[in-house]
């Protein structure tokens, strides 16, 4: 039994960041990288399934990123993942989620896992697309925004709940193997002590190239993406209004604004 967990190395902005000279991204010096918060949950979900099953389950994490992502992969190995795969090639630079998904699908074809987990979205750009696009390339059943999962490794189906707007949960059953995107709060991610991260350095990280995955360079990078970044900029301060006054006044003002934005006369 094998579970494949796709993780992303996200970037947060440091204080006083600057936009790059070409205006299409923030200067690399101001990017603080770390493992995507959602991936803590998807990895934990995989570990729970691994630890609950009687039969041995291999948990493999995969990340499409350059060498500096090895730090996050080590953290995943420290948490109990059995193997880590990193995919990188110069040509991958500039890929959007769809191009990355193409690579993940190639890894899945190579690894033949029983399930593929990904986070709902990443904490930096939040495209919320990579997992589902991977499913499309694999033509696997898929579901997103899971807050609850009942699945035994190798099972033919899984029952899950996805969280809808308003907090309502929608319970569904899905055929497996499938791609599931995992939402925050589905479990409590375990802590990886620094000692265990250090010890995980003994576990290997397999690095794959485009060649290894049989993916043409034209299918990744900008050419393989479905969108392109034209410009990145810091927006002017938004229209934030401080609503003052008594509770009644506040309520009235709020209602007025909401009706204004909603546009309907209820």
């Amino acid at each position: 039994m094998k579970l494949l967990v796709a993780v992303k190395r996200v970037a947060a902005l440091d204080e006083d960041f600057e936009i790059r000279a070409d205006g299409r991204d923030v200067h690399a010096d101001f990017l603080l990288r770390d493992l995507n918060e959602w991936d803590d949950y998807s990895l934990e979900e995989a570990m729970k399934i691994k630890e609950a099953g009687a039969a041995p389950v291999e948990v493999v994490v995969v990340c499409v990123a350059a060498e500096e992502a090895d730090e996050s992969l080590r953290k995943c190995l420290a948490k109990g993942a059995d193997r880590a795969i990193r995919v990188w090639d110069e040509a991958i630079e500039g890929s959007d989620s769809i191009a990355v998904a193409r690579l993940l699908a190639a890894v899945a074809r190579r690894e033949k896992p029983d399930m593929l987990f990904a986070g709902v979205q990443s904490s930096d750009h939040a495209f919320a697309s990579t997992g589902i696009a991977t499913a499309a390339f694999l033509d696997w059943p898929h579901a997103a925004v899971l807050t609850h999962l009942a699945y035994t490794a190798g099972g033919k189906s899984a029952v899950f709940r996805r969280e809808l707007e308003g907090g309502v949960l929608h319970e569904m059953q899905i055929e497996c193997p499938a791609v599931l995107t995992i939402q925050l709060g589905i479990n409590t991610p375990r802590y990886a002590s620094l000692r265990s991260i250090k010890q995980a350095a003994a576990k290997p990280i397999e690095v794959l190239s485009l060649e290894d995955l049989n993916v043409a360079p034209g299918h990744v990078g900008e050419r393989g993406s479905l969108s392109r970044v034209r410009r990145m900029y810091v927006p002017d301060k938004g229209r934030a209004e401080m609503i003052e006054g008594s509770v009644e006044e506040q309520a009235a003002r709020l209602a007025h604004i909401i009706r204004e934005l909603a546009g309907s006369a209820s």
């Binding site: 947060a12 902005l13 923030v26 989620s97 769809i98 998904a101 979205q121 930096d124 750009h125 495209f127 919320a128 697309s129 990579t130 997992g131 589902i132 696009a133 499913a135 499309a136 059943p141 898929h142 579901a143 997103a144 925004v145 709940r161 996805r162 707007e165 308003g166 907090g167 309502v168 949960l169 929608h170 319970e171 569904m172 059953q173 899905i174 055929e175 995107t181 479905l226 969108s227 392109r228 970044v229 034209r230 410009r231 990145m232 900029y233 927006p235 509770v247 009644e248 506040q250 309520a251 009235a252 709020l254 209602a255 909401i258 934005l261 909603a262 546009g263 309907s264 006369a265 209820s266």
Partner: protein, 226 residues
């Protein structure tokens, strides 16, 4: 490629209000006034939803009858792809919603269309579609474009675009859903435990007979409402 296709969002036989925001957004996307805006309504009894989307700015309502009443990503994906194939719109608008999380990227990936999510502003610059979304935890804005893509799919952020005010009578056409094997089955809905919370992510919904001011007052504990 021309025409704008709006995919209506359903929840339990009700068209969600965000659909009308998409219609409002579609208006500003018309490159020429005659460009047609169509709204596709998917569901077990799509005709019942036609009145909710018969608003100004909608030229045509496409009803698609699906086997399952509730959301099924495979059926939605196949239908939207078929709709795009048949109607060849230049722009397809979906809400950036939980349902869209489940299938929008699959449509784009399989059909190789232009794709961007959580867009809060878009327009044409020198004939090219430019969509703006957030980046790095909403600390920056990113302008995206879609070179050489004839069809572009955008998921739009809720609560940004104004829905049309007036009502209208668009033409209604039925569209045959393509066959799609159901790999998912809907089982049940489980209500949230805190039923009194107003979910600000979605605008005011729920009991539409209740005055919005009353609902707000309730949440901030206006003594009059206790």
């Amino acid at each position: 490629m021309s025409g704008i296709l709006v995919i209506a969002e359903h929840r339990r036989d009700e068209v969600r209000p965000v659909t009308l925001e998409l219609v409002g957004a579609a208006q500003s996307a018309r490159r020429v006034p005659e460009e047609r805006v169509a709204v596709a309504v998917l569901g077990a009894e799509p005709e019942r939803s036609v009145p909710s989307v018969s608003v100004a700015g909608v030229d045509e309502v496409l009803t698609v009858k699906l086997a399952a009443g509730e959301f099924d990503p495979d059926a939605y994906e196949a239908t939207v792809r078929a709709l795009i194939e048949a109607r060849k719109p230049s722009l397809v608008l979906l809400p950036h919603s939980i349902d869209s999380f489940g299938y929008a990227a699959a449509v784009a990936a399989k059909s190789n269309h232009g794709f961007a999510t959580d867009v809060f502003r878009f327009g044409y610059q020198d004939g090219a579609l430019v969509a703006t979304r957030g980046g790095y935890g909403q600390k920056v804005s990113i302008e995206m474009d879609f070179p050489a893509r004839e069809v572009v799919i955008l998921t739009l952020r809720a609560g940004v675009f104004k829905p049309p005010g007036a009502r209208a009578s668009p033409s209604v056409t039925s569209f045959a859903a393509p066959p799609a094997r159901a790999r998912l089955v809907s089982r049940s809905f489980i209500e949230a435990s805190a039923a009194d919370d107003v979910d600000m992510t979605d605008g005011i919904q729920g009991d539409s007979s209740e005055h919005p001011r009353c609902r707000i007052a309730k949440t901030i504990g206006h003594p009059r409402m206790r």
